[in-house]
């Protein structure tokens, strides 16, 4: 891919993921990882790792911009974010042990159930 086109593609991926991230409070990895694989031809490992680096910047930018208007509850962020740090270490270890296909389907159903709860809230 020509360098200029690659640069423009990466910029486009960044803008789209930042928009999604700030609109919904998510990292944007759901968009960045497949985009890097499909559009820039990264392998899955490089795409996942590179997306983490990019999301770090996105999450900091989003946090700062929302904290200007006092929308960030720091205590609550620590309440879920710090145990999540421990959980993510356990999750990566588990990845090698469990069959991902069935588990992914259960997780998808769980996410739909959460969506229904939120919709009714």
């Amino acid at each position: 891919m020509p360098a200029k086109r690659k640069l423009l593609t990466l910029v486009g991926i960044g803008i789209a993921s930042g928009f999604l991230s700030a609109l919904f409070g998510v990292g944007g990895g759901i968009l960045v990882v497949p985009a890097l694989v499909l559009l820039v031809r990264f392998d899955a490992k490089a795409a996942t790792a590179t997306s983490l680096a990019a999301i770090g910047i996105t999450a900091i930018a989003g946090t700062l911009s929302f904290s200007l208007f006092d929308h960030v509850h720091w205590g609550s962020a620590a309440l879920v974010g710090l145990p999540a740090l421990a959980g993510s270490i356990a999750g990566v270890r588990l990845q090698a042990l469990v069959s991902s296909r069935t588990l992914t389907r259960f997780f998808a159903l769980f996410v739909v159930a959460v969506a229904v709860l939120l919709f009714l809230e």
């Binding site: 990466l10 789209a16 991230s21 700030a22 208007f69 999540a84 991902s100 969506a115």
Partner: protein
């Protein structure tokens, strides 16, 4: 906040991190519902707080990936820097929407995420060929 809610938030936070490590899907899609349904934040504050909550998880993940040489920094920095522009747009849209509508849009987004998960389970191949795994140990 009651003790039960605090314990539940800690457990769900741990679970969100575990699932993000397991599936590579960020903790945000679970942080936001936890902050709304358990901690009792409004939708916008939950989303803003979710972004702050993911910083330690993402920073640690990026550091670990950096150690094994998987991060392509130039690309990551370009995507990250460009994302700041998108953040400005997304934040102003999120703050201008009615919170009830924002919550329904977020719920719809979760359904899209679930669909993508199901699709990836259908087409899943190991991200790392088995013969290469020993190199990562």
């Amino acid at each position: 906040m009651s003790t039960t809610a605090i314990v539940l938030a800690l457990v769900l936070g741990f679970g969100a991190g575990g699932l993000s490590g397991l599936f590579g899907v960020g903790g945000g899609i679970l942080f936001v519902p936890t902050l709304v349904l358990v901690v009792g934040l409004g939708q916008l504050d939950a989303q803003a707080t979710s972004l702050a909550a993911m910083i330690p998880v993402v920073a640690f993940g990026a550091w670990q990936q950096q150690r094994v040489g998987n991060v392509r920094w130039r690309a990551g920095l370009i995507v990250g820097a460009a994302s700041v522009l998108g953040v400005a747009g997304g934040a102003s849209l999120a703050t201008s929407l009615d919170e009830g509508l924002l919550r329904k849009l977020f719920a719809a987004f979760l359904v899209v995420v679930a669909a993508q998960l199901l699709w990836s389970a259908r087409a899943r191949r190991p991200a790392v060929p088995p013969q290469d795994r020993a190199d990562n140990l």
